[in-house]
């Protein structure tokens, strides 16, 4: 459990560093928000333990995430 959470934490730090560089290079909203969504999923599944919960919670949360990210991407494209 501790090894897993530590691995996820390191990945999150890495992805955040990548997103910072993407922002500095003015990459597209779609790319930056896609990376944000990936980090969101990692926190929800691993840190919030949704991977152990009934599927309806993951479906609900990630559906909401998809709606938010798609809407923002369209508005910022």
């Amino acid at each position: 459990m501790n090894m897993r959470s530590t691995t996820v934490w390191i990945l999150l730090l890495l992805f955040t560093s990548v997103s910072f560089v993407m922002g500095e290079h003015h990459m597209t909203a779609a790319a930056i928000l896609a990376l944000a969504a990936l980090k969101f999923v990692l926190v929800a599944r691993e840190f919030m333990e949704l991977r152990h919960a009934a599927a309806l919670w993951s479906v609900g949360l990630f559906s909401l995430l998809a709606l938010i990210v798609l809407s923002l991407t369209l508005m910022l494209a």
Binding site: S19, H52, L56
Partner: protein, 202 residues
């Protein structure tokens, strides 16, 4: 402070006594998660729409934000999330002293985040960039201050958890409050993971 012997094994959440449909931390805190995400989604939508409508305000506004500070704050919040996971694992394993260390570390990241936000706002205010300056700053302050308030609430909840650990209230057999507080803490991460790119990076 009671320090019970380690449990034979920390029960994974899905093997606990909870109802099969009950999420980690309970239904109430997850209702809060969904409501807050919807609220911030609305705010971010307004920010995005105004960003398209008024690029002459939003482009220079965003360029004037402290990118390294926001990046550091993101790393700090995510580290707090990791500390919270370690703290919850320690409670489930019956190692109260370890749990306290990790939860204090989580509180520390929340306070550090708040301090750096204060530095960020102080810099803006010194340059007369206030809530009323223009639409960009109104939305910038609204979104980030509202998020900061959530972080401070999370810190307060964790302080209550620390007190509960000290009194022996939380242990492997009873720690729903710790799970709920952990979910609330991670919710602050989820919100920031959306606020950070929209407000600072794009």
């Amino acid at each position: 402070m009671p320090d019970s012997p380690p449990a034979p094994s920390a029960l994974p959440p899905h093997e606990s006594d909870r109802h099969p449909l009950e999420p980690p931390g309970g239904v109430l805190v997850w209702m809060i998660v969904f409501i807050e995400l919807l609220t911030f989604a609305g705010g971010l939508g307004v920010f995005a729409a105004q960003s398209r409508a008024q690029p002459e305000l939003f482009d220079p506004g965003r360029a004037g934000l402290n990118q390294p500070l926001a990046f550091a704050n993101t790393l700090i919040l995510l580290t707090g999330g990791w500390c919270m996971v370690r703290g919850l694992t320690a409670i489930r394993g019956g190692t109260s002293k370890n749990a306290l260390r990790w939860i204090w570390a989580t509180i520390g990241t929340g306070l550090l985040f708040s301090l750096l936000k204060g530095v960020e706002y102080a810099d803006k205010l010194q340059h007369d960039l206030t809530f009323h300056t223009n639409t960009f700053y109104t939305l910038y302050y609204a979104l980030t201050v509202f998020h900061l308030m959530h972080v401070l609430v999370a810190v307060a909840l964790l302080c209550g958890i620390v007190r509960g650990i000290h009194t022996g209230r939380y242990h492997p057999g009873e720690h729903l409050d710790v799970e709920s507080s952990a979910v609330f803490w991670h919710m602050c991460d989820l919100i920031w993971l959306l606020v950070y790119p929209v407000v600072y990076l794009l």
